[in-house]
Symmetry: C2
Subunit: 594 residues, 2 copies
């Protein structure tokens, strides 16, 4: 090993990462867009609000003359440097200013990076939402949780038959296959041509739910002429084809059948088809099945209710009852495949799960692959399970046979390009390197470079009958969600959190006589996250003396404004502490006049 | 995507991860080991201080009767939850208590996870250090930096010929191949048999420096009988053989020769052989070569001085001078292959490098693979480079042809087991899952399960002529290095840092009259990392009133002990803030009596 690990910890005065992100906070005016700009005739404008240069918070805006529609409204989980933040949503100030022109919202499928932003953004841009049945079911549950269900216009569409007119747009759908049922491509028709927006997809020719990707419609659209294709880039670096979801059925089945003890399966709670697979295998092997994890239980409930999961009678038991059955009659499906700290599986691994105590003989199967950034958390869980003596089966040890990706490989991307044969092409859903490689794939199938638009969030693509070109930017910053606050955490709060997280704080409180400016008692020092105070009395006493001298120096002239003294205290104390510890806690001088 | 990301951010009261780590702090008594325990005759005790259940801070202690020797003394980079910590070193209190019995320290090779702990630990266990030439050179530089060189007994050994006696031990070496020159296996002889400690290795049959792994000696040791094998487990999940370092020469050469503009190569600064490859290719393609990055420059200097790098005259230019040459005459080698925030490559990607401004036409090659946990930082750099228009070549897009691992694949592990044919086997260097799989590999080549010891840090393996068994534990916690402090950051400091990092702090200062207990002014509130105070006046005012009521209630009885009031303030304020924001800043009540 020669590990040059990223020193995330230290504050980096030159770190532009946070700065580059343009965090929008409450009350702050975002970059004013040219609202008054004349509405262009016979022009399609595609504004990207999220999902470019990143995996997450997908949101795309289509404008044709005075009409606006939105496709997808996702959130994203924060990066490591966004301490304490819960979610990130797109800055929609551009839309808020054009609220009355928004005709509808279309959602491709029920994953959080496509629906997670709805409860936060819908109140600002209220418009009816159209999606397939399961997707609407998941959105409904979400809005209900936020008490936003009343008055929300949710519309279930049938991707095979429906076609609706909204303003100058005519929208239809094509069923696609993905790792959640009811995923659709949205086809946005305008008087100058159609856009095929694939959403997340793959070409799964033997989907578990037998609902095939509608290649017929995609091919027909290609024959009729597609103006613009916006296609999923997540898999642009995976060569070849992604395997069918059903290709792992046998393997999952085998491990459930052959395990001698209990079997615990961790997967994404949104992989409804995977859950069906486990249900079927558990039934077949004569095991009872219990679910553990809130999101899993909720998704199972919704999917059963809407007919997306078929559960045989007497199969399901409560997690509280697993210990009433012999080990080889028990199958548990749980959340936590990403090593999430408080998830069901993490609690099992650390011995904190109320009902499931892992023991020798248990088999834990990760039916998932690590999302980049989660590797170390996952390894912690895997190692804890190994320590207890469980058998652990996971990717990384050779080829994975218990998970497949929901996204298309390079050859499938070519297939989509060849089916639709678009005039213009915009790779979406992906980090910059995915988008760049998707562009190269498009060039390989014959699209000229000038017809391909690799864009960043906020870029606007303007298409007329004759040409397509980038046309400036719309605000596309991010809004941070933390607890109840939407947009009340900004750069300063984050910077402070970061500073305190690496070096702690050091508060110096001086109580002075309002009239004489003299110290009324020895300066108080409160420190957290810096150093054990009790073992460093000398350091604290010296600092106190330093502060006393500054205050007394300042006070020699009697009552005064303490701003200068405070700056002096901060600088002096910071220097002194750094010299003695090589750490820079955040020094906060407080002067209280009594 | 269905991302259930680890909510690192939130404080998890049940999170046992930190607790489990047993952080040792200054002044704290570590678990007392049975120092007075009788020294066992004709018994080899192997105490593991670091390197088991983790990648990093390798350190192993061998005891035979009254003599102690140490093999390796590494450090580790902190996990993400160890906010602000620089390095982690093993807790060596067990050795401090047996200082006079320590005869020597043996180092296998010059990577930080094998030498990084020396400057921190050597002063506590002073003993002579033995290693091969380059390794000693790197240790020397390190000790010099810490002003510890004077008096340190550094001894260069010749792995082919040397054999030394230290107490009852007889130590010899076998050259191995790895990603740094001069890596050796340490063979620890005792009256009851020999231990082969491989260190990091691979079977590279065409090493760049032509120094082959000493299979002859390993085989001879096997013939003579090996008591214990301790072998590198890092690659225990990589099927087959790792490719030879020289297998990528052609690919590196091609990319340097064929790139039309500048070529920038990022790699680990310790990969001396890789550096030689780049030197040779740059020469061949008629390019000048510049180095950027402090650790790279230092390692090049040491390696040239000791004869491990051969640099042709007129090849090297200063990084300040790269712009004086035509683009196709420039090659730059830099640090930052792991996306480290302040590294040369990160600065180039963010436009902050003084001398190198990336532009269209530049090619950036990552001659490295991501260390788990660094993926997102690396992608940030890659995407920034793509945005500027550079061509970026990296693993992850199909097979890597510009980097090979320095660790053995499963078949090489079998080979090592078959050469040495040990009586007992302890897999080392690896996370728990690596160790478990290495055990399975050993079983595949025929070792009985009861002869294999999968251990955790602190476990002691006791071997006599007749048997081997685990014999209790020695202290094996971790010591945190932060700035100048070694072991002065402990669990409380880390917990505070974590709390502040996710929710901020909220300091409430009440100045009261010592005699009457009455408030002398309105309570002061200082908050950082919580919320924008200016935009939340109501919240602040309400909190202030809440506090005022508590103080006034408490003061009704005149002067008093403020402990209860402080607890009450903390609880009340915490509740109030949580109800209104769903965040829990660290509330610190301060009462100042005047």
């Amino acid at each position: 090993m020669s590990k040059n690990k990223n020193r995330r910890g230290r504050i980096n005065p030159e770190d532009k990462r946070l700065k580059g992100k343009s965090i929008k906070t409450q009350g702050e005016n975002s970059m004013k867009s040219s609202k008054t700009k004349e509405i262009k005739k016979e022009t399609l404008r595609v504004c990207t609000m999220g999902g470019l240069g990143e995996i997450g918070k997908n949101m795309y805006v289509f404008e044709y003359e005075e009409d606006i529609i939105i496709v997808d409204m996702g959130f994203k989980f924060p990066d490591n440097d966004m301490l304490g933040v819960d979610y990130i949503i797109p800055d929609v100030s551009y839309l808020e200013e054009r609220k009355d022109r928004i005709k509808a919202i279309f959602i491709t499928h029920g994953h959080e990076d496509h629906i997670g932003g709805i409860p936060y953004i819908l109140p600002k841009v209220s418009a009816p939402i159209y999606a397939a049945k399961l997707t609407i079911g998941l959105i409904e549950a979400k809005l209900d949780e936020f008490n936003l269900l009343k008055g929300a216009g949710l519309h279930v569409i049938d991707p095979e038959k429906d076609k609706i007119k909204v303003g100058k747009f005519e929208v239809e759908w094509a069923r696609v296959t993905h790792s959640i049922p009811d995923a659709v491509a949205v086809i946005v028709g305008t008087p100058i041509g159609k856009t095929v927006f694939t959403g997340d997809f793959k070409f799964d020719h033997s989907p578990v739910d037998n609902k095939n990707i509608d290649v017929g419609k995609l091919a027909r659209l290609g024959d009729e002429g597609v103006l613009l294709l916006m296609s999923d880039s997540t898999g642009a670096e995976s060569p070849g084809y992604s395997a069918s979801e059903s290709s792992i059925t046998k393997n999952i089945n085998r491990i459930i059948t052959e395990s001698k003890g209990r079997i615990i399966i961790a997967s994404f709670s949104s992989q409804i088809n995977r859950i069906q697979m486990v249900i079927d295998s558990a039934k077949e092997s004569g095991r009872k099945l219990a679910f553990s994890g809130r999101s899993l239980l909720r998704n199972v409930e919704i999917s059963v209710r809407l007919g997306y999961l078929k559960i045989p009678a007497d199969l399901i038991i409560k997690i509280e009852d697993v210990n009433k059955y012999p080990d080889n009659r028990v199958c548990i499906m749980s959340t936590g495949s990403q090593g999430e700290a408080m998830s069901a599986l993490s609690r099992m691994a650390s011995g904190d799960h109320k009902n499931v105590k892992i023991k020798k003989g248990d088999t834990v199967l990760f039916s998932s692959s690590p999302i980049p950034g989660n590797e170390s958390s996952i390894v912690t869980v895997i190692d804890d399970l190994f320590r207890i003596g469980a058998e652990v089966v996971y990717e990384g040890r050779g080829e994975s046979t218990h998970h497949v990706s929901g996204h298309p490989g390079t050859e499938e991307l070519k297939m989509m390009l060849n089916f639709t044969r678009p005039k213009y092409f915009m790779p979406v859903h992906g980090e910059m390197h995915h988008l760049v490689h998707h562009k190269e794939i498009a060039e390989e199938v014959g699209l000229p470079e000038e017809s391909i638009f690799v864009m960043d969030n906020g870029d606007v693509l303007e298409i007329t009958k004759n040409e397509a070109k980038l046309d400036g930017k719309v605000p596309s910053g991010i809004v941070l969600v933390d607890g109840l606050g939407i947009g009340d955490v900004g750069e300063i709060v984050l910077r402070d959190r970061k500073a305190m997280s690496t070096e702690g704080i050091f508060v110096v409180i001086c109580t002075v006589d309002r009239k004489t400016g003299k110290l009324l008692s020895s300066p108080d020092i409160i420190s957290r996250g810096f150093i054990y105070m009790r073992e460093n009395e000398k350091l604290v006493n010296n600092t106190r003396n330093e502060v006393r001298n500054i205050i007394e120096g300042a006070a020699s002239g009697g009552p005064q404004n303490w701003t200068n003294a405070k700056v002096k205290i901060r600088d002096k104390v910071q220097d002194y502490l750094y010299q003695n510890t090589q750490r820079r806690p955040m020094v906060i001088p407080v002067v209280i006049e009594v």
